[in-house]
Amino acid sequence: MSTITARDVLYVAALANIAITENEAAKFTKELDVIIGYFEQLSQVDTTGLEPTYQVTGLTSVTRPDELIDYGTTQADLLKNVPHVRGNYIEVPKVL
């Protein structure tokens, strides 16, 4: 039986790059404990001999000819939603 702690929540929030506040962490801990607890019933299901399913219509490794496709989208189209642009570059805080 799984019990979710605030430490678990802060750990997965860090993995997911969400800087949740302490108040949020306390709330999510309670909620996730109930929700993850609800998942425990799965352990009772007999799945002997079954494989997991990730794709339901049977398509596998769909390929297309290795040719340029014109999406009709320009560089300007793609840059117009970027919050911080310098010239035609996407700007991020200094990394090094």
Binding site: E31, P52, I69, P83
Partner: protein
């Protein structure tokens, strides 16, 4: 409340000489009159009027026009469309100016349909009531103290209010079917891969589908026929079937239909059970054979869904980083890590974060086998049970949701209770099956009830023909 519109209402007005501009302006007037329901995030005014004028000119010149020439429609604000913001009803994308357009919108426009508005929903499709929209709840057309359902609540309410004859939604686990049920309209979730999702904001990619909301099954089939087909921009799309999706004029041959035992239990609102039973009696009177069938894995499919889909959400929503597009907390971020963390904390709402955290948890080292892989294996068991059922039955029937529309706020404090609203819709999604919500009367408070028909993969045309046979009040 205004009467819902049909496609033929519009096309016959055009045939009678009314201009497309006048029709579009009439729809804008309807939108204004229904503003209190908060069905829309934005109105697409100038491009719609320009398109209307272009079609009027084509008609005047006697040129051949498309199947939906002059028919206005609304799309959930998860669809990218030229000259619109596409917000996914989230502050994260509040100012997102669509740089390209969804294939579904392009295909409808190629047939002359006119996009006039973008509908409200739960942010990123995360919810069953539109209460998780960052732009306010959509109110139920039959009772404004109740929800319209979700996540495509704005689309369903817009059709019920007669703003447009049809609307696009999305359906990942019931997001078109459940609001259709709550608003008394038809809601179709096609077979997985039938309609391209290119240009649609992603939620859970292994079950995401485009949904269609309309006032009747025939209109739904017309729209499906236009939208279906392979798209080089969505590798999961299936080839278009050779025959039209539109129901033929020939009567349906007698079918074998299974009534789903697990969906007819004591926890279901009695009026909902009674509505399903009335539809079963109607099916029998039409010559179809109906008997009870058990699919024992169904009750656990909700747990499977709320593991698999949050896992996919956590992956899909990792693209929102405060850098490439969407909300940025740059001003308060001291470094790159803080830019990611603060942008995601402030741009996403509580339900978005809850699902990302659940998804990250079930995928994390030490838990992935017990949760994610186990859930995907139980999914196989569920798929096998459906496959068995469809060797004996042409379609299955049951409720869409356990209740009629609930009060705004009723489930707000309890996320698991809100997830339970999806308990009867997620199974078809996990198996990639087509399913349709068909209006089936109302409860004693006058709130609409929907029944759900579920078919084998690629049986959408049969399901919609059956829906057409039983829609409306039982006679």
């Amino acid at each position: 409340m205004t009467k819902p519109l049909t496609i033929i209402d519009i096309t016959s007005r055009i045939a009678g000489g009314e201009s497309v501009r006048s029709i579009v302006e009439d729809c804008f007037a309807r939108i204004e009159a229904a503003a209190d329901y908060n069905t829309l995030v934005s109105v697409v005014r100038e491009p719609a009027l320009a398109r209307a004028d272009a079609i009027d000119a084509q008609l005047k010149a006697g040129k051949k026009v498309g199947r939906l020439a002059g028919v206005p429609f609304i799309a959930k604000d998860m669809f990218l469309a030229h000259a619109t913001t596409t917000t996914a009803s989230s502050n994260m994308l509040k100012n997102f100016d669509a740089p390209y357009q969804a294939t579904a919108i392009t295909k409808l426009e190629a047939e002359g349909a006119i996009l006039i508005g973008k509908a409200n929903s739960d942010a990123f499709g995360h919810g069953a009531s539109t209460e998780n929209s960052d732009f306010g709840v959509t109110k139920n057309p039959y009772d404004t103290s109740r929800v319209a359902g979700g996540s495509s609540g704005g689309s369903a309410a817009a059709v019920a209010l007669g703003l447009v004859p049809f609307a696009l939604g999305t359906d990942t686990g019931g997001s078109s079917r459940q609001p259709a049920s709550f608003c008394g309209v038809v809601g179709h979730k096609p077979t997985y891969g039938t309609i391209s999702r290119y240009g649609v904001v992603a939620m859970g990619s292994s079950t995401d589908t485009v949904g269609i909301l309309a006032s009747n099954a025939a209109d739904t089939a017309t729209v499906l026929d236009i939208l279906a087909g392979k798209d080089q921009f969505d590798a999961t799309t299936l080839p278009h079937r050779s025959k039209s999706y539109e129901p033929s004029q020939n009567p349906l041959k007698p079918l074998k239909i299974g009534i789903i035992k697990e969906y007819m239990g004591d926890a279901i609102q009695p009026a909902v059970l009674a509505a399903v039973k009335a539809k079963v009696a109607q099916l029998q009177a039409l010559g179809h054979a109906v008997e009870e069938i058990s699919l024992p894995t169904l009750p656990i499919s909700l747990a499977v869904y709320y593991i698999v889909i949050p896992a996919e959400i956590s992956s899909n929503l990792s693209r929102y980083d405060g850098i490439k597009f969407g909300f940025s907390a740059r001003e308060d971020a001291k470094n790159l890590k803080e830019l990611y963390g603060l942008s995601r904390d402030r741009g996403f709402n509580a339900e978005n974060k809850r699902r990302i955290l659940i998804g990250t948890y079930v995928l994390s080292s030490g838990y992935i086998d017990a949760y994610y892989r186990k859930a995907q294996t139980v999914r196989t068991k569920l798929i096998n049970e459906f496959a068995d059922a469809f060797t004996k039955y042409d379609a299955l029937i049951g409720p869409v949701a356990p209740t009629t529309a609930f009060k705004i706020g009723a489930n707000a404090a309890d996320p698991l209770q809100m997830y339970l609203a999806d308990v009867m819709t997620v199974a078809a999604s996990l198996a990639g099956l087509p399913a349709v919500s068909v209006p089936a009367g109302a409860d004693s408070d006058g709130l609409p009830i929907g029944v759900q028909l579920i078919g084998a993969q690629r049986s959408d045309a049969l399901l919609l023909a059956l829906a057409k046979q039983i829609e409306g009040a039982a006679s």
